[in-house]
């Protein structure tokens, strides 16, 4: 078997780094021992591509290469990386150094890739990405609009490095920020640098990270140590996978940030609270920690500077509310993850009642960048009150579903229409839900809204953790509200009355609206009830839960009125308000619908017009989906 490994000849166990010079020396050796001209086949092993069998693709490529027996000098390496962001086009295969980008690759394509591209230097045209607008095939990653318009800073290593090999991270400059902080900066200087960068928390509320660290220092002055540093990796928003991608694809970036934070605050212990449904993230973080310990970058006497710090992983308790800071602490302490009814800040009284700094995965991953390249470089990205970049997961009615990183302050339209390629079919989008289940909707008319913390809040929505759900004309705002409320109702811990009972009540009112029952007065009541929950709930799960309903009433009041006054659902979603009918002009009598209808209520002979018997129609909508001629209508 030839050596397809991209790993270098360097033996990890022979190295225990004792200084910044050692780290740089190691990086040099790794770079020297890799041939820059050696072809590299990069196969995405992110969760999305794996779900489409990218592991079979890498196996097939491996087997194919062995069989082809290419001259050992040009023997390509196969590298498995984390999610490269363009999940809707997966499985992805990149060929370096040319940078060829193959998409939707199947195991059976392996031989052709080897034969044509690797042996003859030709392009396999049918595997290239085709721009849906220009219909042109694009050969390299850099030219694809989805990537070209992004600014990948936090995600820059993902898709390039093997997340299970620390040497790959070190080769691309990993841990140099840590070395810099430990050897040439005081803890105070580290805190000052983070403050100056303007970095704001990426987990939801957007609290300035530097200010949080500073208040922790003040609390430590009063209460002494220990102090804890904690990573919030509980990501539970439907449709969000930013943090998962970072933990899976570049675990060292989170770890390095955490160690730097620990140094700045004088913490000896840290925790990574990771959602239990993310086994790959846990595995990669565990491996990362093990390898970092082996190299002397974690544990006792890091880089021989006298600073010691270690961390451990906690699996999330499986409830959305456990991502809330105080619930997360009680969960780490081994108790049920309920929010604490207290008006104290966690920097003063967090985990085990001690001063604690809790930051989100992406927040921590930004820290090494700030330390390495400086606060000025960092704050040059983005806009004045929201510096840096933000990673978004783009899902819903959009062509390019995937992970996107852009500088703060770009307009919504850039993300949805240019990078995301807009709504399939080319119609304008209706609204974008930002900020997860407790965020809000930005309507098409506000599509030039800059995506930064303050502008989104002003529009009634929020940054949240960065999930973006694109909706089109076939999405009903009443239905969307019901969906999010049902989610939060299930996730409410039940401790406080406004959330436990109020959310169910809001959902029941929307259920009635979806049946055409209700009145304008009830819409006003709903706004008042929402306000009572916003004002009254104990934690942010409850107090932000009414946001989707409040923003949709603000921007789409007509659609609510159509439901309660005219008994119509303009989007054709609410079953009780629609009937399915076949357009006689368009029906070709292909019989597709009548074959699919589960309740056998479509009649008509072959090549003759078909008719739906409304009395036995169960409104499943299968006929509409199955008709290729768009003849099934909802009215």
């Amino acid at each position: 078997m030839p050596d397809l490994n991209t790993a270098t000849a360097i033996d990890l166990n022979q190295w225990h780094l004792k200084s910044e010079q050692d780290l740089i020396e190691l990086q040099k050796r790794i770079i020297e021992s890799t041939d820059p001209n050696r072809p590299e086949i990069v196969v995405c092993h992110g969760t999305g591509c794996l779900a489409n069998a990218s592991d079979k693709v890498s196996e097939a490529l491996k087997a194919g290469l062995a069989k082809a027996g290419i001259n050992a000098k040009v023997m390509p390496g196969i590298k498995k990386t984390g999610c490269q962001g363009f999940c809707s086009r997966g499985p992805l295969v990149l060929i370096r150094p040319q940078g060829l980008f193959y998409q939707q690759v199947k195991a059976r394509d392996a031989d052709e890739i080897i034969e044509k591209t690797l042996m003859r230097g030709e392009i396999v045209k049918r595997l290239l990405y085709k721009d849906p607008k220009t219909k042109k095939a694009i050969a390299t990653e850099q030219e694809i609009p989805f990537y070209k318009l992004q600014k990948r800073v936090v995600l820059k290593n993902i898709g390039k490095i093997d997340p299970t090999d620390i040497l790959d991270t070190i080769s691309s400059g990993g841990y140099q920020a840590l070395a810099k902080a430990l050897t040439s900066m005081t803890p105070e200087q580290v805190v000052a640098e983070v403050e100056k960068s303007g970095l704001r928390g990426r987990g939801g509320a957007g609290f300035p990270a530097g200010r949080k660290w500073r208040s922790a220092l003040t609390a430590i002055k009063k209460k002494g140590r220990p102090v804890y540093v904690v990573v919030n990796g509980d990501e539970g928003d439907p449709g969000a996978f930013m943090d998962r991608t970072i933990m899976e694809g570049d675990p060292h970036s989170v770890l390095e940030g955490l160690i730097i934070g620990a140094y700045a605050l004088g913490a000896q212990n840290g925790y990574l609270y990771v959602r239990a449904e993310y086994p790959l993230a846990i595995k990669h973080l565990e491996k990362a920690m093990e390898q970092a310990r082996c190299l002397g970058l974690l544990g006792e006497n890091i880089l021989n500077t006298g600073f010691s710090f270690d961390a451990r992983i906690n699996r999330g308790a499986g409830a959305f509310v456990c991502g809330e800071s105080t619930a997360l602490f009680t969960s780490i302490e081994g108790k049920p993850g309920n929010p604490r009814p207290k008006y104290v800040r966690s920097v003063e009284e967090g985990l085990w009642g001690r001063p604690t700094v809790l930051n989100n995965v992406e927040t921590w991953a930004n820290v090494p960048l700030i330390i390495r390249k400086g606060a000025n470089w960092y704050s040059g990205l983005g806009v004045s009150n929201s510096t840096g970049t933000k990673v978004f997961s783009l899902v819903g009615k959009v062509n390019n579903v995937g992970l996107v990183e852009v500088p703060m302050g770009v307009p919504v339209s850039r993300i949805v229409e240019e990078i995301g390629g807009g709504v399939p079919g080319g119609a304008p989008f209706k609204a974008v839900q930002t900020g997860g289940p407790s965020g809000g909707c930005i309507p098409y008319s506000l599509k030039e809204t800059p995506v930064d913390f303050d502008s989104l809040t002003k529009a009634g929505s929020m940054m949240g953790s960065g999930a973006m759900i694109v909706m089109d004309d076939s999405d009903c705002v009443v239905d969307v509200g019901r969906y999010f409320l049902r989610f939060l109702e299930e996730e409410s811990c039940g401790k406080c009355l406004p959330c436990r009972l109020g959310l169910s009540r809001m959902r029941e009112v929307l259920d009635r609206f979806s049946q055409g029952k209700g009145s304008e007065k009830e819409i006003d009541d709903l706004i008042n009830l929402s306000q009572a929950i916003v004002d009254g709930a104990l934690c942010a799960l409850g107090s932000s839960a009414p946001n989707p309903v409040l923003t949709t009433i603000r921007y789409f009041k007509d659609e609510y009125l159509a439901h309660v006054q005219d008994q119509k659902c303009p989007a054709g979603v609410c079953k009780d308000l629609i009937t399915y009918r076949i357009d006689e002009e368009k029906c070709t009598g292909c019989t597709a619908c009548s074959k699919q209808c589960p309740s056998n209520c479509i009649s008509g002979e072959k090549k003759k017009i078909h008719v739906i018997d409304a009395s036995s129609c169960i409104k499943c909508g299968i006929c509409k989906e199955s008709c290729k001629f768009g003849a099934v209508l909802t009215v």
């Binding site: 009814p341 406080c496 029941e508 009572a532 009254g536």
Partner: protein, 211 residues
Amino acid sequence: MKITFKINDKTVEARTGWTVLETAQHYGIDIPTLCHHESVTPSGACRLCMVELKEGNWSKLVASCIYPVKEGITIYTETERVSNVRRWVFEMLLSTCPASAKIRQMAANYGVASTRFPISNPDNKCMVCGLCSRVCEEVVGLSAISVVDRGVHKKIGAPFLRPTDVCVACGCCVSVCPTGAMQSFFDQVRGEPSMRLTQLTRQSAQEVKTS
């Protein structure tokens, strides 16, 4: 040390460590409460005690039973936002524990006589504030009963909702319950008296032996 601040434009003085509610009660300012009891740790569950904290143009609602006093703050106990929360909470209470006469009385005093929420169980009195279980744990020291389940399914019960022999039938939970619900639950948690006796006898026998 004295802390000076304002409640409803009136200057008040409090000791360090007091809550806004304690200060208000000290001055005879009425704030409705339900889940609060001075002998156990507060849970902040009912949200009836919400008051408005104002700072210039900006304001927010806080739960007075847990909000610690701070020098110079301005508190209003009966604003439009406050009463919007309380009125809705009362409507929620009327729907979730309609059988509680105490709750109906409190709501009526606040001017809330009916509810727009559906009533799922007309016989229920419990609002799951957890006072009973906190008393049992913190004062009696037994944890015979606890809050089980989460979200809308949250309820009070002995472990596995069976009568428990851990309970010594002291009745503390009954006396602290603000809705009168524990009275009706009592037989469900306190277990068989005979069992309890045998267990106690066994225990004291054990103690005699070991001493």
